[in-house]
């Protein structure tokens, strides 16, 4: 089933705000084995000029993937989410995420295409503060593997 090209450019309203917690940052940094003091020690983060713990560069995926997943499951888009794999990921930061940030994600469908039986959807999640200041954009390529592409 091909994805619906009419969805290109469509923007989805943000869900509830995500409050970035110190312990979540520490848990995530520990899970990726990263001992950089800016991720664990508030004093070290402040010495670098940040108001609180800094989140690792891939941390925004926690909120961005949730928002992208919700968007691409819109039935009108026609993507078989049960067969989705992550094809590409890119982050473009205005500043790093820090503990205490209250962030919302606005998802836009940037591109859809079908290649060799695989449906591909590119989403961009713009992560901003509640005041609307840009923090990071997370661009994600999701590939729904076609049945015929398996053989």
């Amino acid at each position: 089933m091909a994805v619906n090209p009419d969805y290109v450019g469509r923007t989805f309203p943000p869900g509830p705000a995500y409050l970035v917690g110190r312990e979540k940052i520490r848990e995530f940094a520990t899970a990726i084995g990263d001992l950089n003091p800016a991720f664990h020690d508030v004093g070290a983060a402040r010495a670098l000029g940040y108001p609180d713990l800094v989140a690792p560069p891939t941390f925004p995926v926690v909120m961005a993937m949730k928002a992208a997943t919700a968007a691409v499951q819109d039935p009108g888009l026609g993507l078989d989410y049960t067969r989705v794999v992550h094809g590409e990921q890119r982050f473009a930061y205005s500043r790093p995420v820090v503990a205490g940030d209250e962030l919302i994600v606005t998802v836009t469908i940037e591109a859809v295409r079908t290649m060799a039986g695989n449906d591909m959807v590119t989403t961009r999640g713009d992560v901003t503060t509640l005041a609307g200041d840009h923090v990071v954009s997370a661009t994600t390529l999701l590939i729904s593997r076609g049945i015929e592409a398996d053989s």
Binding site: H86, G87, E88, Y93
Partner: protein, 142 residues
């Protein structure tokens, strides 16, 4: 400890300190919990093999995060990373044994720009093949 590399210290071709990471099943469970990505193929061998994978595979975002460690260790201030992206081209297969998978990350500077940024290209290998496609970053250095 973290180095704090400066723009004046680098040129095109400057190598980043390479690192080798070990990824085991416990690490996948820990990353699943921390990231909220509980896709079954990252922890259940029965399901992974039933969809045609050789075994349980690591989260692509975990492999990307390991590559990110090489960046943040190099720049010292993780907020210096202004862009970071990759394609996920091959899976990191994680066997259920004491060693798990070994991921090796190397990198080098590919451009030094007039605006105080540098572009870095990474190479991420597992079992002798690259697992990430064109992983690269832009960092802003003092």
């Amino acid at each position: 400890m973290t180095a704090h590399v400066r723009l004046a210290d680098i040129e095109v071709g400057t190598a980043l300190p390479s690192q080798v990471f070990h990824v085991d099943r416990a690490g996948l469970v820990r990353y699943a919990g921390a990231s909220g990505d509980f896709n079954v193929i990252h922890w259940n061998e029965r399901v992974a093999t039933s969809v045609g994978l050789p075994n349980v595979i690591a989260h692509g975002m975990l492999t990307m995060a390991l590559a990110g460690r090489v960046l943040s260790d190099w720049v010292g201030d993780p907020g210096a990373i202004v862009e970071f992206g990759t394609k996920f081209t091959r899976p990191v297969v994680v066997p259920d044994d004491a060693d798990g998978a070994t991921v090796e990350v190397t990198g080098k500077v590919t451009a030094v720009n007039d605006d105080g940024t540098a572009q870095v290209s990474l190479t991420v290998m597992c079992d002798g093949v690259t697992v990430l496609g064109n992983p690269r970053a832009v960092v802003r250095l003092a």
